[in-house]
Symmetry: C2
Subunit: 196 residues, 2 copies
DNA sequence: TCGAGCATGTCAGTTACTGACATCGACCAT
DNA sequence: ATGGTCGATGTCAGTAACTGACATGCTCGA
């Protein structure tokens, strides 16, 4: 139906062919403008020039649109851990995974900060973020087990590394003078080691 | 209206006066019988002899009915940390909080196991559990800060302690021969210390 | 040119919640 | 006792997040 085509043309200044990408971009816009709860799935779909049904075919639920890259990041971490030097301790191997995963965000600090603000403003988004972090813990633990690390060491190291990642990310996006995410990870990891 | 009274009398063998407690008990029953998604809020309300609206006045959402005690546990941990001996390290103080919080579960291992099975079977319940654990991390970190511990040490120790708690709980409910939860916590904490 | 396959549109339905208002019993002051 | 407030509940109507079933149109290889 050409009506939707017209909607599309009116909606964006320049045409962006990938519907999925459009929905993600538009969702971030709307969430930032009026908040997550105040934005309906229909709103996002409309501004992206698709149907609400199409939105839900691409994203399992409304929150998911904010977490599109998270699987990739977990897989990246996983693979990096598998490829890390044998002599690394479990914690160091896991941290290497975090650095690798984090490198995917390297050139998108402003986007990450934006997203992080939206998520912080809504408990149900925070909930989803925790689930994604838990998936990252699982992927990390599995990679460690593949390196021959037994439980509960694998889980503990995975949890520790992801915690470091999480805290480092928070400091990274909030930092006044931008430093590398990897630097924040190293720094936070050092504090962790001093705990025991 | 006496119809609901009749429903109530038919629903339970013996009369249990506390509506909230009834809803919780009934919800666990139904979730175990037919699963979380297959149970509507109306089902729970009906079997508990109340209205769906009443259910939602007691619980912010359907999942919340499974997490009633979690605030109490976080507060207990918080208070225990504040009251712990000054000479304890941040991690040890946080772990003392976990033991205190865990003591609330001491005599309900079977209930905890039941609940844990239900939660494990449903991603959205797992999500809510993660949120509750995050609240426990927050409470723990706050208590540590009140003891004069600075960031990010406070957060790191809090995360570490709650991770230990989480893993220890899992092993506790799954253990063949029942040991103390506190024992599991101590044991898991020892593994954590060996990481660094 | 046909047909398979895939992304999308359309439409109707279920269920999780929410707001507004009425009711009812307990308890308290007069 | 009488009236009044308060807290918990019932009733009802509404919104929005999803879901299933089916139709349509576009692309691409045989």
């Amino acid at each position: 139906m050409s009506a939707t085509v017209i909607t599309r043309i009116l909606a964006m200044g320049r045409w962006e062919p990938d519907a999925r990408g459009r929905m993600i971009r538009v969702a971030v816009e709307l969430f930032a403008e009026r908040g997550f709860e105040q934005t309906t799935a229909g709103d996002i779909a409309e501004r992206a020039g698709v149907t609400e049904r199409t939105f839900f075919r691409h994203f399992a639920d409304k929150r998911e649109v904010l977490f599109d890259g998270s699987n990739t990041m977990a897989r990246t971490a996983h693979d990096a851990i598998l490829g890390a030097p044998d002599e690394l301790s479990p914690l160091d191997a896991a941290l290497a995974g975090m650095v690798a995963g984090g490198s995917l965000l390297a050139d998108r600090r402003d986007h990450a900060a934006r997203r992080s603000q939206i998520i912080a403003a809504n408990p149900s988004l925070r909930e989803r973020e925790l689930l994604k972090l838990a998936a990252m813990v699982d992927a990390t633990a599995e990679a460690l087990r593949a390196r021959g690390i037994a439980e509960p060491t694998a889980s503990l190291a995975a949890h520790s590394a992801v915690t470091v990642f999480q805290i480092a990310c928070g400091r990274w996006v909030r930092a006044d003078e931008p430093a590398d995410l990897a630097a924040h990870i190293a720094q936070t990891a050092a504090v962790l080691r001093a705990l025991a």
